[in-house]
Amino acid sequence: MITAGIDMGAKNIRVLILKDGEVIARAEHTAGFETEESARAAFAKALEQAGVTEDRIDKIVATGAGRESAPLATESVTDVGAAARGAKEVLPQAHTIIDVGAEEGRAIKTDGNGKVMDFAVNEKCAAGAGSFTEAMSRALEVPLEEFGTLSLKSTTSTPMNAQCAVFAESEVVSLLHAKTPKKDIARAVHDAIADRIISMVRRVGIEPEVALIGAVSRNPGFVDSLKRGLERDVFIPDDAEYIGALGAALVAVDG
């Protein structure tokens, strides 16, 4: 059986193809403003990688913020459902799942069988998701890829007052004017966003094993701040940003 999951994220669209339980392709494309076209492009890339044609795919399930407008998919599953299903597959021991993407943060508690017990979502405010870090790296004129590692070099915590991405931008600039080293500002930014995510995680309850998925798991500065704040280690699966798409493809298998 061959199934596909399409994760229609706000920033990126990711497609993953499964054949008899094995991942045979994964591809992504920036969402842009024409999301349907972008989804088709990502899908075409994945098909090529898998070496199969579209008609060989038995079922396609969509997830993500834009799942309702996903082309090709016949069914959809919520972000929470897809994240829980995907995480169960790769990290079955983790009962608390933290999913941080560009525009949304989520905390999910599962029963260990992929069933969602509770969840909390932070959405529609850039201060609670990856966009916050992006905006701050822009204000500091540090490329996003370097922003996380820069944060690791800091040994001091600097409090940030602004809770809004727009006001935080001016705060970051005035910290810079006050000669605060960039690495300390980077850490302040990651601590701030991690704190907001953690308060959400506490609302669902922290189970001993915690998994972190979503694109922001690729940012070592954030991961470091998150671990420090949670006072525990977190597991990050390979291809952490594809767990949503994987979950959707698995939902397609489950039927």
């Binding site: 509770d118 969840f119 909390a120 405010c125 007052n161 602004a162 308060s199 506490r202």
Partner: protein, 93 residues
Amino acid sequence: MKANYGYMDGSGEYYITIDTDHCIECAHHGCLDGCPKGMFEIITDDYDDEVAQIKEEFRKKIKYDCADCKPVKDRPPLPCQEACTPGAIEHSW
């Protein structure tokens, strides 16, 4: 006076409303010790009344600070509301 402390952002509305008319009559100010985060303080307001308010440093992040008191499932009564016998405190979320 009804004083609303908190904010509204893209994700929702988070206000703690204190009906300060109750504070004026209140003798023991249970809110001070009732809130585990110590978010309340008693001040003399602009009209010379002794009333409770949320400290400045919490006002822009009460959604996060109150999170521990507000689990997603089976939310217990809020400590601040329980401690405030005159019933002056309300939460919008």
